[in-house]
């Protein structure tokens, strides 16, 4: 599903990724971990096509991102859900509208969009607050809205950047349960985290990044 071949990425003199080779199969659940500044966010952004590698190739679902047109990339993004570290919710839209946005761009029917948005909000436990605005809810709830927006389109791949960043252990467990349920439905899930606690009680595949290099 996700393949990286000898991928290099630098920002000026700052090398973020060095010679990264990686293969993630369809329906896998993978953690990417490593200290802050290791290159986790950069790796996710490359997979998402938000950054281009300096050299090397990235294949998503068999499509080479180096050769993809702008429009094709837009279409590919509809199959990839991304939970951003800073959530990227729109403050002037309700929770419902924020989640529905991911489906509106596909031009789906309104009734279909409404149904799927309700489902996604119910799944993350925020169905009651759908008319609230992002700034009226807690950080943990904002995190779950961001997840709802990423999964509302039933993506092939779900990428999450530090999804439990500053949540207490209880909420962290809830979020991980959520990801597990998405994974159970067949979605390929990639979670980037610097927190070791998250990994302790899992036997999931873990990719260790260190200064832009895969070390385990």
């Amino acid at each position: 599903m996700i393949q990286l071949f000898h991928v290099f990425k630098n920002f000026g003199s700052n090398v973020a990724l060095r010679d990264v080779d990686l293969r993630i199969r369809e329906g896998e659940f993978v953690f990417i971990t490593g200290p802050s500044g290791a290159g986790k966010t950069t790796l996710l952004r490359l997979i998402f096509g938000a950054e281009r590698p300096v050299s090397g190739h990235i294949l998503i679902d068999g499509i080479n991102l180096n050769r993809i047109s702008r429009t094709k990339l837009d279409l590919l993004r509809r199959k990839i859900g991304f939970v951003f570290q800073d959530f990227k919710l729109l403050p002037r839209k309700t929770l419902f509208e924020n989640v529905a946005l991911a489906l509106e761009v596909t031009g789906e029917r309104r009734s279909f969009i409404r149904k799927k948005t309700h489902q996604a909000l119910r799944l993350v436990g925020l169905a009651e607050k759908q008319t609230a605005y992002p700034l009226q809810i807690s950080g943990g709830e904002q995190q779950r809205v961001a997840i709802a927006r990423a999964i509302v389109k039933d993506p092939l791949i779900l990428l999450a950047d530090e999804p439990t960043g500053n949540l207490d252990p209880e909420l962290t467990k809830d979020i991980m349960v959520l990801f597990r349920s998405v994974y159970m439905k067949g979605t390929t899930v990639v979670v980037a985290t610097h927190s070791r606690d998250l990994l302790e009680d899992t036997e999931q595949r873990t990719i260790l990044l260190n200064r832009g290099r895969i070390t385990g």
């Binding site: 837009d74 031009g107 309104r110």
Partner: protein, 297 residues
């Protein structure tokens, strides 16, 4: 393109207009004012053309006869003149009549004429030409035809006036093009900046739309629609204002250059549609320029 997508774009455009109503109100009123200036100029042009053209239409020629034509000969000439396209004999001025007119014109200096033994003035027909259905009288052709009639000595008409009239209208037209061009550029500038401002105010949303897989077209279409709506609205408002102003003015007796003007007409339909078309086109082009660049995400 699917209908519900258009509905979505339309809703987005309306929402954006409402959210940025101050920008839009400013943009709209400047556009309306520009279109009003242009429309007012067009109305003046159309009417000026009709009025001055009207004078040109009732072209008057003086047909001077050779000395010593008989009365039957005069009748013959008169019937030949009447056969000409649009020609109408306004009056016949006999040699005596011409002298009487001259005396009257000279007034207290009429004594100058006392010493004359013979009347040197020719008899003449005053002929008016009215334009037929869509046919303009060609003064030069008429002059030639009149002069070819036997017994006619000379034909005079005021060529100068016609030339000046044409020259004036060409000047007015040129000024119109310049004003119109400048106003169009101004409107384009206004639309482009209004849409740029609304794009700027929604940049967060645009970024997220791109991140969840919106195509460029999907992001741009509502803004293009916004420009078109602005064009339609300002075109309609300007035309309504223009028409209201026209009704107000034409209700009063209009005086122009000291002359009571009888028909003060509104813009013909094709001009009305042109104004609407131009404002919509400018709205579309302006927003097109504004959405030209979208930051890559």
């Amino acid at each position: 393109m699917r209908f519900r997508l258009w509905m979505y774009f339309f809703r987005q455009a309306l929402t954006s207009i409402l959210n940025n109503r101050v920008f839009h109100a400013i943009g709209l009123s400047t556009m309306v004012v520009s279109l009003l200036i242009f429309g007012t100029f067009l109305i003046l042009f159309v009417n000026l053309n009709a009025w001055l053209g009207g004078w040109g239409q009732s072209l008057t020629m003086s047909v001077y006869l050779k000395d010593g034509t008989s009365e039957t000969k005069n009748d013959e000439i008169a019937s030949l003149i009447r056969k000409l396209q649009g020609a109408e004999i306004k009056r016949f001025i006999s040699k005596e009549g011409a002298l009487r007119d001259l005396r009257k014109a000279l007034g207290s200096h009429a004594g100058l004429l006392e010493g004359m033994s013979v009347n040197p003035l020719p008899a003449s027909f005053e002929v008016i030409f009215k334009d037929g259905d869509g046919q303009k009288t060609d003064p030069l052709k008429m002059k030639n035809e009149l002069e070819s009639i036997e017994g006619v000595d000379e034909v005079q008409y005021s060529e100068e006036w016609l030339k000046r009239f044409k020259g004036l209208m060409n000047m007015v037209r040129l000024v119109g093009f310049i004003i119109g061009g400048l106003l169009c550029m101004g409107i384009l500038f206004i639309v482009t900046n209004t849409i740029k401002l609304t794009i700027y105010s929604r940049r967060g949303e645009i970024e997220i739309l791109k991140l969840v897989g919106a195509t460029d077209w999907f992001v741009k279409a509502p803004f293009l629609l916004e420009g078109v709506i602005q064009g339609i609205l300002s075109g309609i408002v300007a035309l309504l204002a223009l028409f209201a102003g026209y009704l107000l003015l034409s209700a009063k007796k209009m005086h122009f250059l000291g002359l009571a003007v009888l028909d003060f007409v509104f813009l013909p339909n094709e001009y009305v549609f042109s104004i609407l078309f131009i404002s919509v086109a400018l709205g579309l082009i302006g927003s097109f320029i504004a959405v030209g660049r979208f930051f890559d995400v």
